[in-house]
């Protein structure tokens, strides 16, 4: 994609040597990557590869055991989640996590409370998802999975983030619904938002991404541009070692 403005390809997010532990378990190990303004980076990998942990660490919900995260040039590794939100990072968490006692509109209002003003107003969200307007006073727990996912994305967008983190938005949704949700991503990117997507559904991730980063058991197994990677490369990076690879790893090379 030639969406990235020339001469202004500034790095928005820079992750270097990041490691995250859940107790004894090492979920993310020495992962480095960067995302530039206007890019869509898809983080792919199998279940348990550490993708969600990585995203949650960027949002501030986990403390890294090593390495650093910098956002727009400033180190944010030690900031609390609400401070990172104030700087322009919004995470759409896995499983939607809506405020279940509230109406649709109240969920969006919570997003605006501490968020920045910008193009994504509540009105703009209703234009992005026209069905919302008429149901804005309904309680969200009655909504279908796809509708809840849309509300979760809306809630993150109304804060007008500069970096949007999407965690497994397609999980548990019907293909047609996934399609519809992914349709809005180009429109979000067009507003200058940098997007980092975590996906188990590789096909979906490759379709919207400008770059791909594959994780395997917490480590980087592949990086590249979607069009330039062969299916075989991706398969190996996604599912892990063939016999040859595992011998190499056992030999001490990482």
């Amino acid at each position: 994609m030639s969406d990235a403005p020339t001469g202004e390809s500034s790095v928005v997010l820079e992750v270097s040597g990041l490691s995250v532990h859940h107790g004894q378990l090492c979920a993310v190990e020495d992962v480095s990557f960067s995302v530039s303004r206007g890019e869509v980076l898809a983080m792919i990998g199998a279940n348990g590869a550490g993708k969600s942990t990585l995203l949650r660490t960027i949002a501030g919900l986990h403390t890294p055991s090593g390495g650093s995260i910098s956002f727009e040039g400033a180190d944010i590794s030690r900031l609390a989640p609400h401070r990172r939100f104030a700087r322009g990072i919004s995470l759409v968490p896995e499983g939607r996590r809506l405020f279940s006692s509230m109406t649709l509109e109240e969920n969006l209002l919570v997003g605006t409370t501490k968020g920045a003003r910008g193009t994504f107003t509540i009105e703009a969200i209703y234009e992005l998802f026209p069905w919302m307007r008429e149901r804005r006073r309904s309680r969200v727990w009655q909504f279908s999975g796809g509708e809840q996912q849309a509300v979760a994305i809306g809630r993150a967008l109304v804060a007008n983030p500069r970096l949007l983190l999407l965690d497994e938005v397609s999980l548990g949704l019907a293909p047609i619904v996934i399609e519809r949700i992914y349709d809005v991503i180009p429109r979000i990117v067009a507003e200058g938002v940098t997007v980092l997507i975590v996906e188990q559904d590789v096909g979906q991730g490759l379709k919207v991404a400008t770059r791909v980063h594959c994780l395997l058991e917490g480590r980087t197994s592949l990086t590249g541009v979607p069009g330039e990677l062969s299916d075989a490369d991706i398969e190996r990076a996604y599912f892990g070692a063939s016999l040859h690879d595992s011998e190499r790893r056992a030999g001490g090379g990482a």
Partner: protein, 290 residues
């Protein structure tokens, strides 16, 4: 007429229970903390009104003007320090810490002010009442307390429902992590919730001291009724707490009418029946499918 009197007197007491209980319900709803020292905070507010306020030239009748804001601040500070520290460890620690706080407060009050009953001197207002019928008298003070309870619950309802901070409090209550991802500093929100809880229970403590005598042990006694009001009404519903408080109040009056010894028993029985028949309480939130 006797029955009507039971209902009226029960409702008047019930308003006090609701005022006493709403902070307990809020703290449980927002930070999942059961503050076992909640009742003792009310008693401390009572002692503050009786002994400290006059030293600063504040008359006991108007002591709430000073005491309530001070307790709001105190609530915020206690939450951000002591209670937050215990939340960070585990939920059981908060029970132990607030229980310890309760014991500590009660014994300190015993040490300093003895076990003698105290009351907030409001002069001739205490005895004044009006006659509804030949057998029904309504005390002005009790009526004012009920009115204050309704006003406080109404104000709280509007605050939680229609202000930015109120919405953030509900967001944290629904899903703390998701609220953080929406920019809420949950520790600050916890502090605000505790501030409201301390302020309302301080008001309840002063109201209590105006209508009857209190002693260092009154906190624990009233905490039980507050618990019952919250559970009967349903956790998470402010108006439910009011209805629960009134229901407990009426049950107690009814018990007392049958035999003065049954006053407390009748309230507890109602609580047990509701717990058995409707564990979510009369107006409890239906648990949303997640």
């Amino acid at each position: 007429m006797t029955w009507l009197n039971i209902v009226i007197q029960g409702a008047l007491v019930g308003g006090f229970y609701a005022l006493f209980a709403c902070g307990l319900s809020l703290m449980f709803g927002v930070m999942k903390v059961i503050n076992l020292a909640h009742g003792d905070v009310a008693v401390v507010a009572g002692y503050t009104a009786v002994f400290l306020a006059p030293k600063f030239g504040v008359s006991p009748l108007w002591s709430f003007v000073v005491v309530v804001p001070v307790f709001a601040l105190l609530g915020y500070v206690v939450q951000r320090t002591l209670i937050q520290k215990s939340i960070d460890r585990d939920p059981f620690t908060t029970l132990l810490v607030t229980f310890g706080l309760s014991v500590l407060i009660e014994n300190l009050l015993l040490e300093v002010y003895t076990a003698n009953g105290q009351s907030i001197n409001i002069g001739s207002l205490i005895g004044s009442s009006f006659q509804l019928s030949s057998t029904i008298y309504i005390s002005y003070v009790s009526l004012v307390v009920l009115g204050v309870a309704v006003a406080v619950l109404g104000a709280l309802q509007i605050f939680l429902g229609h202000t930015k901070t109120g919405r953030l409090i509900r967001a944290v209550s629904d899903d703390r992590e998701a609220a953080q991802l929406s920019g809420a500093n949950y520790r600050h929100i916890f502090g605000i919730a505790a501030g409201i809880a301390f302020a309302t229970v301080a008001l309840a403590g002063i109201a209590y001291g105006m209508t009857t005598e209190f002693a260092p042990s009154s906190g624990v006694t009233n905490l039980i009724y507050a618990f019952e009001a919250v559970v009967v009404g349903g956790i998470g519903s402010l108006w439910g707490t009011l209805v629960g408080g009134i229901a407990i109040g009426i049950a107690q009056q009814l018990g007392e009418h049958i035999n003065p010894e049954y006053q407390v028993l009748a309230g507890n029985l109602l609580f047990l029946v509701v717990l058995a028949v409707r564990p979510n309480g009369l107006f409890g939130k239906k648990t949303a499918p997640s």
